[in-house]
């Protein structure tokens, strides 16, 4: 897009994907708020009693009517087209479910119910292709967690201490295994009670349609505190059972990020911005990368690119534009200066 001699950088779509991702997260979250309101509106329509509604209820009715009347004639029936949440939803009769819902139901029900299993097809295919993208692009809990993460950065800037601990990432695979075992033992899908996106979907519905919160809200608040006080994005990184399952499914994803060693200058901005605490600067993406593209957006030399490949490239050593290279240090071991920079980021 830049004109010659304008000094601007060339327009690269991949550098703007992160904004698109925020848009996607916001739209999903907004839908989860809108759907319960539409449901309440539908029940008012079905009851044929507009005059009996309270002023608040009339306001809700009028707003929802204004939003939907350009699209539907018979709201009580037509608005049934979109129901549910990211855990399991229906769009014009097409049902889609979270892979964890399917795995958890199989564990709890001690058997496979095929009409339900097929509802995972599209999410599963997308995960095999794009890896843990759900965590970065769709998950309604991520929307809140990432805002919290930004809030923590603000607190840090103001000199207030926030949690920066690093735990063992494999913990979440334990949570997944334990959740499935508990579901199998209890005969009820208990893993749904500790999975934030499922909780968010439900609790928004409870809050809007019933004016109260369930047990899940307390759990979610605890995870927020954990993120703020113990580890940045701690729940997603170390504890989320769904994240664990998505990571396993996305291990051999086809679309992944790669560092172009020739244009990398070892600035470590990518490592600093990575919500999942990965190591893009040293080619450390792995199965946990959710293709969120925050690192791509922040890279000053556009060294991070998408590739179609089922494994990461082997560590390529320091970036060719990096300081160490210019100083003739060929060692792959990170220098103390870069370590310090990374810790500060």
């Amino acid at each position: 897009m830049s004109k010659p001699n304008s000094g601007g950088r060339r327009f690269l779509l991949r550098r703007h994907l992160n904004k698109l991702r925020w848009l996607s997260l916001a739209v999903v979250f907004a839908m989860l708020v809108l759907l319960p309101f539409l449901h309440v509106y539908q029940t008012y329509v079905a009851a044929h009693g507009y005059d009996l509604l309270s002023p608040d209820e009339k306001l809700l009715y009028d707003v929802m009517e204004a939003i939907t009347s350009p699209f539907v004639k018979e709201p009580a029936e037509a608005l049934d087209a979109i129901k549910g949440n990211t855990w399991s939803g229906t769009i014009w009769g097409f049902k889609m479910s979270d892979p964890l819902a399917v795995v958890g139901q199989i564990a709890a029900g001690h058997g496979v119910h095929w009409p339900f299993v097929v509802t995972v097809a599209v999410p599963l295919l997308a995960t095999l292709l794009l890896g843990r993208f759900f965590c970065g692009w769709i998950c309604p809990a991520t929307f809140i967690y990432e805002l919290t993460s930004n809030f923590a950065a603000l607190l840090k800037w103001a000199g207030i201490d926030v949690g920066r601990r690093r735990l063992d990432r494999r913990l979440k695979y334990g949570v997944l295994a334990f959740g499935l075992i508990a579901s199998a033992a209890s005969g009820s899908i208990l893993v749904a009670a500790v999975y934030p996106p499922a909780i968010i979907g439900r609790e928004l519905y409870y809050a809007i349609a019933w004016g109260g919160l369930g047990a899940g809200a307390a759990f979610f608040a605890a995870t927020l505190l954990f993120d703020l006080l113990v580890a940045r994005r701690g729940f997603c990184r170390y504890l989320c059972p769904g994240g664990a399952l998505y990571s396993l499914l996305g291990r051999y994803r086809a679309v992944r990020l790669r560092r172009t060693v020739e244009t990398c200058n070892d600035c470590a901005k990518c490592n600093g911005v990575c919500e999942f605490g990965l190591d893009p600067m040293r080619d450390g993406f792995g199965q946990e990368c959710n293709n969120c593209t925050a690192c791509v957006a922040v890279c000053p030399t556009d060294a991070l690119v998408f590739t179609i490949k089922v494994v990461d490239v082997a560590p390529q050593g320091p970036g060719h534009l990096g300081r160490r290279y210019r100083h003739g240090e060929a060692s792959a071991a990170p220098s103390p200066a870069i370590e310090a920079k990374e810790a500060a980021a």
Binding site: K83, T90, Y205
Partner: protein, 189 residues
């Protein structure tokens, strides 16, 4: 943690859980509740339901509510109906939207509903029913969506519930007696 220790810990936790009588944890609540129309038997229902909340979000009558922890951990976020508060109108939308078949998809037709729905069964407490006290009432009979099939009335509108009652609870909802003289005995209990 070493992989070996990790697996051993998991196995230990599994063994601990297997010994827990979590299944029996339902039925703890004092609430007399029904599952939505077309729901499987309680144990199969709990094994199928993924707590997505779509049944409640589709219910035009807002009679489907969700358990907190009051009925045990296994019932957390599962749907229930308390007929005295709001009874089921047998619209069958919840079964249509249920992704797992925990609530069976059933057509809204008499035969399918009689075959597939077994929420409970109404029973009449003749000691407090107005019609049995000589005050002609008949409200339950008029509220029933399966009139003359699930419920019939005799002399002085005295209600008689037949075997075909599916337990939707509209009779209990509309009974003018307090405490209500016609109630649903849930089939899961």
């Amino acid at each position: 943690m070493e992989r070996r220790t990790f697996v051993a810990t998991l196995a230990a936790m599994a063994a601990g859980l297997a010994g827990m009588p979590v299944r029996s944890s339902t039925g703890e609540t004092e609430i007399r509740y029904l599952r939505p129309p077309g729901a499987l038997d309680e144990e199969d229902f709990l094994g199928r339901c993924i707590h997505c909340g779509q049944c409640g979000e589709t219910c035009p009558n807002r009679c489907i509510r969700y358990f907190g922890l009051e009925n045990g951990a296994a019932s957390l976020d599962t749907p229930y109906i308390v007929p005295r508060d709001k009874a089921c109108i047998l619209c069958m939308k919840c079964g249509e939207v249920c992704p797992t078949g925990a609530i069976k998809p059933l057509q809204r037709e008499l035969e399918t509903i009689l075959d597939g729905v077994k929420m409970g069964h109404a029973w009449v407490d003749e000691s407090i029913c107005l019609s049995y006290q000589g005050k002609t009432c008949g409200v339950c009979y008029r509220a029933c969506p399966l009139q003359d099939v699930a419920i019939t009335v005799g002399r002085l509108e005295q209600p008689h519930v037949t075997d075909k009652c599916v337990g939707c609870g509209l009779c209990e909802r509309s009974c003018i007696q307090m405490p209500q003289a016609i109630r649903i005995a849930p089939s899961h209990a």
